[in-house]
């Protein structure tokens, strides 16, 4: 129980760091740390499959894509960074306030698990889950990937008229 609490606090801190970080690179790393902690939590919740996906995709692949995209941008100077973060704070000061209020509201509502929970199924074969139980979702994923690839073509491929 204590370990879980520590992990949850770590996750929240890492997520906050990801949002508040001044440089994009640090934000991407903080996001990777968040995912890594989530992975541990998933392992502890006896969901090794979800944990492996979280680790490989969210911590590995996405961080790699973010870092490579950030390396293509021109970094701001130190003074610009400070001006940006002040500006960001002025514009979005209310977001942490809303978060605290929402957390307090959820705490005060005292939401407990007050329904009889069904028995969790024993861990099934991955192939069975993917291709029999959730087959439709896998097809949905295929369409999603197709749509995403059209998006990359449209947004990132320069047309001949643009001259580059």
């Amino acid at each position: 129980m204590t370990i879980d609490l520590i992990l949850l606090v770590m996750m929240t801190i890492a997520a906050l760091w990801a949002v508040m970080a001044r440089s994009l690179l640090k934000a991407a790393i903080a996001l990777a740390v968040t995912s890594a902690v989530v992975t541990i939590i998933m392992f502890r919740l006896a969901s090794p499959l979800a944990a492996v996906f979280e680790l490989s995709v969210c911590t590995g692949l996405i961080t790699a894509i973010f870092v490579s995209a950030i390396s293509l941008t021109r970094p701001l100077t130190h003074a610009q960074t400070i001006a940006m973060s002040k500006n960001k704070f002025r514009r979005y000061w209310y977001l942490p306030v809303i978060m605290v209020i929402a957390a307090a509201a959820l705490f005060l509502l005292k939401i407990k698990v007050d329904v009889p929970l069904p028995q969790v199924l024993a861990i099934d074969d991955v192939r069975n889950i993917m291709w029999n139980l959730r087959q439709l979702d896998m097809y949905g994923q295929i369409v999603l990937i197709l749509a995403g690839s059209f998006g990359i073509v449209i947004l990132f491929r320069e047309s001949d008229k643009d001259g580059s």
Partner: protein, 476 residues
């Protein structure tokens, strides 16, 4: 066989992107047109034997889709609005590569929407919501201009918040029910209706759907996304994407899972009334034609929600009927806006005027659409509004009925202003040389206008055969 509505487009998109790109680029438009017409014909032929059967058992595609009367109406709306968007894309997107990519995205969006209306599993529903949303984000930015990117970005951000809310709610529901199928969740909710956990899950899910449907006060993204989107994308987005992903899903989730508790009804009525009134007042003050139509959309969606909020048979069927009508006449108005944008080069109503003289088809169909939207008999919009107002009256919500009637006058006011500024009167300086919109856009507007008039004139037949059977969703 409903699986065909998923499989044929999917195989089609993959085939279109195989080698022989030159040939494929030429055939893409015709493939998509045949696809949507095929869907329109199959849905309107209404054969029960077709819908009940599955593909061959034990084949590679072992997926169950479910079709009821509500699904049929949605499938029809999806195909007809997609067809209109396709025709507008043919006229508005001149670059062949862009048009090819747009058509591909249009088909993936149609797959997503067909999936949304045919599944009975809350997680699959979420997957298809994402498919439709991702396709829509990209379609908005097809021209890569700054306002469109900004509109799409706002849409992505708010849509992501909506998605997170729905996903958290699905997590809670999975915890409660142990399964994600509608049947299991519905049974779990009805066995412990007073649970705080259930109420929390319901509240979060409904908020997510309100954002997706662009209802007040969750509408921040909608005017920017609608008005900045490329013309064919705004037809699709305003006509059907937000209706399917927000409003249809709301109707399905409330009737199949949550049930009409007094709290749910109260929330729906309040949000609906607020959307009707605020949307209409905001529309009155707009100068940009597409922006005005966007606010009008919020107001009209409010009518659907307020009718649905009554929970009675008449209210729910009226809401579904208005959902269908709104999909048709709002896409017609956006098709007309596309025609104006193409020929006059602007959608600023202060710089338009007298376009009916040079663009008679656009002017006439626009008049039909605006009369239907403001609820003038005998057009389709009149009947659905009347049913909603009667349902409110019968259920004893007299104040809400009064709001609905009075705002109807406002609707007429802002749409008449639009029609007068853009189409009637003397032709505005600089627009004397405009000519009628390209054939593709005219065909789209004539089809949609014909549906609006046809449904209105043959109202008893349409209502009894297609709309009234929808009441089955209320009987579990």
């Amino acid at each position: 066989m409903p699986a065909l509505f998923f499989l044929i487009p999917l195989i089609g998109v993959i085939t279109l992107n195989l080698p022989f790109r030159k040939l494929m680029k030429k055939t893409a438009f015709w493939f998509a047109a045949v696809l949507f017409i095929f869907q329109i014909v199959l849905v309107s032929s209404h054969r029960t034997s077709f819908w009940g059967t599955g593909l061959v058992q034990g084949s590679f595609f072992n997926v169950n889709f479910y079709v009821d009367h509500l699904t049929l109406i949605m499938l029809f709306s999806i195909s007809i609005v997609s067809l209109a968007s396709l025709l507008v894309a043919r006229a508005m997107i001149s670059d062949e590569n862009k048009r090819f990519n747009f058509i591909n995205l249009l088909i993936t969006a149609a797959i997503g929407m067909n999936g949304i209306v045919m599944v009975k599993d809350i997680f699959s529903l979420y997957v298809f919501l994402e498919v439709a949303a991702v396709s829509a984000f990209i379609m908005i930015t097809i021209n890569k201009d700054k306002p469109a990117l900004e509109g799409a970005f706002k849409y992505i951000l708010l849509s992501a918040i909506a998605t997170i809310m729905m996903l958290s709610s699905i997590g809670l529901l999975l915890l409660i029910a142990g399964d994600t199928s509608f049947g299991a969740i519905s049974a779990a909710i009805s066995s412990s209706p007073q649970s705080m956990l259930v109420k929390l899950a319901m509240a979060i899910f409904l908020c997510g759907l309100f954002i997706k449907g662009g209802l007040i006060p969750f509408h921040g993204w909608l005017p920017d996304a609608y008005s900045a989107a490329a013309a064919p994308a705004s037809v699709l987005l305003a006509g059907i994407v937000t209706k399917v992903s927000g409003i249809y899903t709301l109707i399905r989730i409330v009737t199949s899972l949550f049930g009409f508790t007094p709290a749910v009804s109260k929330v729906l009525l309040l949000i609906g009334a607020a959307s009707i009134v605020i949307g209409a007042f905001a529309a009155l003050g707009q100068k940009d034609l597409k922006r005005m139509l966007a606010y009008s959309s919020i107001s009209q969606v409010g009518y659907i929600i307020i009718g649905f909020g009554t929970g009675s048979v008449l209210g729910v069927t009226g809401a579904v009927f208005h959902l269908f009508n709104h999909a048709i006449f709002k896409s017609l108005l956006f098709v007309n806006a596309a025609a104006v944008e193409k020929e006059a080069g602007t959608v600023d109503m202060d710089r338009l005027g007298g376009l009916s003289q040079t663009m008679p088809i656009t002017g006439t169909t626009s008049a039909i659409a605006f009369l239907s939207t403001s609820g003038i008999p005998p057009l389709a919009g009149f009947w659905s509004k009347v049913i909603i107002i009667i349902a409110l009256w019968q259920a004893g919500y007299i104040a809400y009925a009064a709001v609905a009637v009075l705002t109807s006058v406002l609707t007429a006011a802002y749409l008449i202003t639009m029609q007068r500024k853009a189409f009637f009167g003397n032709i505005a300086p600089g627009l004397e040389r405009t000519k009628e919109a390209p054939l593709a856009i005219c065909v789209a507007s004539i089809i949609l206008a014909a549906v609006t008039v046809g449904v209105g004139v043959f109202f008893p037949f349409v209502f009894n055969n297609f709309i009234m059977p929808v009441k089955e969703i209320l009987i579990k």
